[in-house]
């Protein structure tokens, strides 16, 4: 069983690499940084050192708002393994105001009250290694 973060959910540590270290370093400081393509302006998700839309390898990181909207969500009630004790919990796609739709959890609320279309705000759930997981609360 993974340790639990302040959200009460498991916080399995990510595996930062040369392309994503900046993203994870920012989360450790409670900030959401995203790469934006210098050529076409596309905000790339998941983070990488290239633009999947135009092929440019030139991207500039910027601090995103942390605001978003629930694009889809589900209350997971039965799940095997290390997440079993965390159920019921909300698995979701959140559409960031900057464009990308990200896999995440909605935390800090009754799971039954989460719905598509709700406004949400980023929270950072620290892992034992330092980087934090990008989760959201109802705004």
């Amino acid at each position: 069983m993974s340790d639990l973060g302040p959200s009460g959910l498991p916080v399995p540590p990510p595996n930062p690499n040369l392309e994503t270290q900046r993203f994870w370093d920012a989360t450790a400081e409670g900030r959401l940084e995203l790469p934006r393509c210098d050529n076409c302006g596309h905000v790339v998700w998941y983070p990488r050192q290239r633009c999947d839309q135009c092929g440019s390898t030139s991207v500039t990181w910027f601090e995103a708002s942390g605001r978003g909207t629930v694009y889809s969500c589900t209350v997971t009630r039965r799940i095997p393994g290390s997440w079993r004790a965390a159920a019921p919990f909300v698995l979701a796609y959140v559409e960031l105001d900057e464009g990308p739709r990200v896999v995440t959890n909605i935390v800090g609320c009754d799971p039954e009250t989460v719905h598509i279309g709700q406004s949400v705000q980023a929270v950072f759930d620290p892992t034992p290694d330092g980087p934090a997981l990008l989760r959201f609360t109802l705004a």
Binding site: H42, Y46, T74, R77, I79, W83, L91, P100, R101, R135
Partner: protein
Amino acid sequence: MTIRGKALIAGVYEHPGRELPDRTLPQIHAEVAAGALADAGLTLADVDAYYSAGDAPGFGALSMVEYLGLDCSYIDDTETGGSAYLVHVQHAAAAIAAGQVNVALITLAGKPRTGGAGPGGSARFSSAPEASFENQFGMSVPGGYALAAARHMHEFGTTSEQLAEVKVAASTHAQHNPDAFLRDVVTVDEVVSSPVISDPLHRLDCCVITDGGGALVLVSEAVAASLDRHCAPVLGTGTSIKHTSGGRIDLTHTGATRSGPLAFAEAGVTPADIDYVSIYDSFTITVLMTLEDLGFCAKGDGGRFVSDGALQSPGGALPFNTDGGGLCNNHPANRGGMTKVVEAVRQLRGEAHAAVQVPDCELALAHGTGGSLATRMGSATLILGRST
């Protein structure tokens, strides 16, 4: 160049076992290989091309060619999860059409029920570039598909009762299959009152977890002419990879929006011409969205389309998965594409169970979905004909 009609499926085999604790994975591969070759009237010595996917142990095709004792000049390890075996059919048909292959063998085997591997299997590659951005949030396989179902309901008004109709049709067929893992006919009420796994998906919206496997044998026209067996010509094929598009995923459609039109165009037919469909049914929502994307109904109308027994055989508007599908019959290795092709060939040969055989079945479609509706998937569509 078209592959239309240049390659034929001469042999199919579905392992009858659903729990196989006393066999190794290579043994199951060997059993299904022998079964499909015997069905075609061929032997291991006739095989010159071998195809395997991520379920093959060790070095994949390289290991299995040796274990099986094959002498191959052509191998293919294309891995797209549960749809891989349909992609293999496309690749084998192309190789046969090009004159590079005469007899192609495709095998699948797995033991998720008794072998300890959980659902999803090798799909959770920790080294994938997306891994740390998707795997940290408790996305089970049903949880991912639930995200797609929830969005489809939100945009189109699809209901749990409509999803349940897919399971009801599959169970109606499975009662006639003595090998089916679940043979009890269920009602819409029973589906929607079964425990919720991830909203809106209930336990009975989910496929079974079974050991087992299957195999296919494809041959050239010249080989087919020498066989005393009805062979199903491959008329059209299509593959597509649908992914998250740099974070702009649309959860309401599948890769079938591209693989389907490719296959229909190659075959020169339309959805209205199809007599029977095998549709990958990892979950009920998979079927509903795939039917829309293949053009059997308008986008968003899948819920209405599958209602009132439309998928039941015989008599429904579009008979599907007459073996009971992954929802009731079999989902060996957590990969349902192989059995989709097997049942389509049974229908074209008139060898489905008499209670579910589509009369005069001349044109069948088989569709596979590998990966996840929630992230990235390999979609493959085949259109098969009846031998003359």
